[in-house]
Point group: C2
Chain length 127, copies 2
Amino acid sequence: MDARIPAGESALDPAVAARLKRDADGLVCAVVQSRAGEVLMVGWMDDEALHRTLTTGRGTYWSRSRQEYWVKGGTSGHVQQVHEVRLDCDGDAVLVTVDQEGPACHTGTRTCFDTDVLLVRDLSPDR
Amino acid sequence: MDARIPAGESALDPAVAARLKRDADGLVCAVVQSRAGEVLMVGWMDDEALHRTLTTGRGTYWSRSRQEYWVKGGTSGHVQQVHEVRLDCDGDAVLVTVDQEGPACHTGTRTCFDTDVLLVRDLSPDR
């Protein structure tokens, strides 16, 4: 069990830490996208998970349900090689571009958004 | 000012509401992607914002800072025509595919992730 490291004790670059706008749990939203453009999953990062993602090049998150750090693919082998990490304009979300090995979703589907479609609307042709 | 509508009073389809896993503030994360594949922004939705998005076809969010509903483009004209809405495997995030009119970011950039690059790593060629 890898216990939570408080933001102030993380080795995350202080210049980056200063730009984060964390939620009440100290987390920012991490949107994970394949280099081909598919949104694969959403995870959550505290300062330390972001630090590990930036320094190891492996997508690393804070599990809100298990209350521990997890490296994507650590048990499944479905690792994420991180290509880019970008912070959004108000500092509460990061976009992580990856090469995803195997399915991104723990259910075995390619993305976590593959199965539950709430709406499809016809629009004018792609533009 | 459009005051918060409690989840139990929203007209959101109860079958959808039952699948949402809301955070402590009653919100799910909304990842907004253009049909071309760009991740444009991250917003937050409560039941009512999701209901309005699904029924009006305009990206509608709950502003955590202003504590009010907002329709993207309501003041800027940079509206989002919603093409698809998908719920993720654990019910705490939706992926909204849109046609975005003009820049998605309130700073005037095309996406909210355009300016603050934390990491770029070389990987093997695109695959």
